[in-house]
Symmetry: C2
Subunit: 278 residues, 2 copies
């Protein structure tokens, strides 16, 4: 008998079959601000030591996350981490909330690590229905010194942006992943990314758009690829993945800007791209 409006019960078929799941990061979306045609905004799916974590869920990312989980109800997700409340980083978190509320109301809440503004934004989208949010998510505030998240230690730092933004660092026994969210240049970025196997950094280059950053306008609340490259070099990161590309921007230009400052490996985030983790 089907439960939850036809959504099948929560069974991880890969665990049942004993299949070995590789450690990996899959890019759900690579655009900043709004999605380009056929692309989505910020979102990264992580599988590590059998745990599944998602970092940010911007416009268009949820259908892709559910495909990777192979579950319309979002079963199998161990934790959600959201860096800040802007919709290009969190609007589809609300869709995930609806999936759990409608199809898995009696399941354990999913741990959600996010600044308070993310919860406020969920509340507004749900017209103040706080009970749904509490039932579905077990919220933990960011930034915070450290949390245990599956195989990871999660550390986070406040980074300069228009709204509170938490840069995050995930450390397992086998790998380190660091992610800026959206932030202006800050010494904490190199700390966050120190020795990271994968350093995911925003590269919001907008210099082709006239008037975006008028001279003397400070502080800057986004990093471009050059600043991401400098931070990766200071951090001695192993791999720098540039993301949060401005719609229509020439991504190869961002790559060139980063490689001028960082001589490690530079990868351009692309929707569906998979990066193996140690």
């Amino acid at each position: 008998v089907l439960q939850g409006g036809g959504v099948p019960p929560n069974v991880d078929s890969r665990e049942r079959s004993g299949e070995r799941v590789a450690n990996r990061i899959v890019v759900l979306g690579s655009c900043g601000a709004w999605p380009e045609p056929s692309r989505a905004c910020s979102g990264f799916y992580i599988e590590c030591q059998g745990a599944r974590v998602v970092l940010d869920l911007g416009y268009g990312t949820l259908p892709r996350l559910l495909s990777l989980l192979d579950s319309p109800a979002g079963d199998g997700l161990d934790a959600v981490i959201v860096t800040h409340r802007h919709p290009d980083h969190m609007v589809d978190l609300h869709g995930l909330m609806r999936a759990r509320w409608f199809a898995r109301r009696s399941s354990p809440a999913i741990p959600l690590y996010a600044p308070a503004g993310v919860v406020t934004s969920l509340l507004e989208l749900e017209e103040g229905h706080a009970a749904a949010i509490r039932r579905v998510f077990d919220w933990h505030a960011l930034p915070q010194q450290r949390y245990r998240v599956g195989p990871f230690m999660l550390e986070s730092w406040p980074l300069p942006h228009h709204v509170p933004n938490a840069g995050v660092r995930l450390t397992s026994s086998s790998s380190v992943i660091a992610y800026t969210g959206d932030c202006g240049p800050d010494p904490a970025v190199a700390t966050l990314a120190a020795g990271a196997d994968v350093f995911i950094a925003e590269a919001t280059d907008r210099d082709l758009q006239p008037g975006t950053w008028p001279p003397g306008s400070a502080p800057k609340l986004h990093m471009g690829a050059a600043e991401a490259g400098r931070a990766a070099a200071s951090a001695r990161a192993r791999l720098l993945m540039l993301t949060h590309f401005w719609p229509g921007y020439d991504r190869e230009r961002s790559r060139a800007l980063a490689t001028a400052h960082f001589n490690g490996k530079v990868v351009l985030a692309e929707d569906g791209l998979e990066i193996p983790l140690p």
Copy 2:
């Protein structure tokens, strides 16, 4: 020289090449409540007599709309119609707003036809930045007796739902399109859809989910496929397109429920499906 952060200037390449554009409806997304894996929520793109109109923009629909427009800035869209404020019908409207604000701030505003709650929800997502909304959209309240929208006369009716919802009817010299948005059964639905060439109706069947509609709970604020079929029969519609399917529900079951009451053509909405218009 590129403008707007690399987004190319507003030129309709099909018009330049003189290509004949057929009248059609393209389904951007077919799910209700939240998107299934690889599918999106409610959204319908209409091309008619050279005009381009979008009906609803739920989770995951914007990248598909921008692909059809072949423009990361959303150029070429003549009007947006949104039936109600629930995120599965409007959250990607906010992404479209960002596209216009960041890439086309000095372009004429796009006419937006929607209940007031949709504008409230945009404001909340944009943290109260009303100037951006006014610059990007020229808002007209629904329901309202009638508006002129490109080649269409737009008529709308208040229909019963949890929040104000406007059913819409678009009449051109060649065709009639009707769309319920989300609503419980109501005599106005048959008026709305009278003789429609394409009647798009929600079919939110959830009878496999225990406890969804407890006995005696009235009024119902969604239609199932049986009710959509009854309304299509009363309206003598030519084609009934069922949509807003509950994630995981067997859509063929909805088809059977509708055809038991309506002996015209029944089509199941599917992401990417194209329906020709007269």
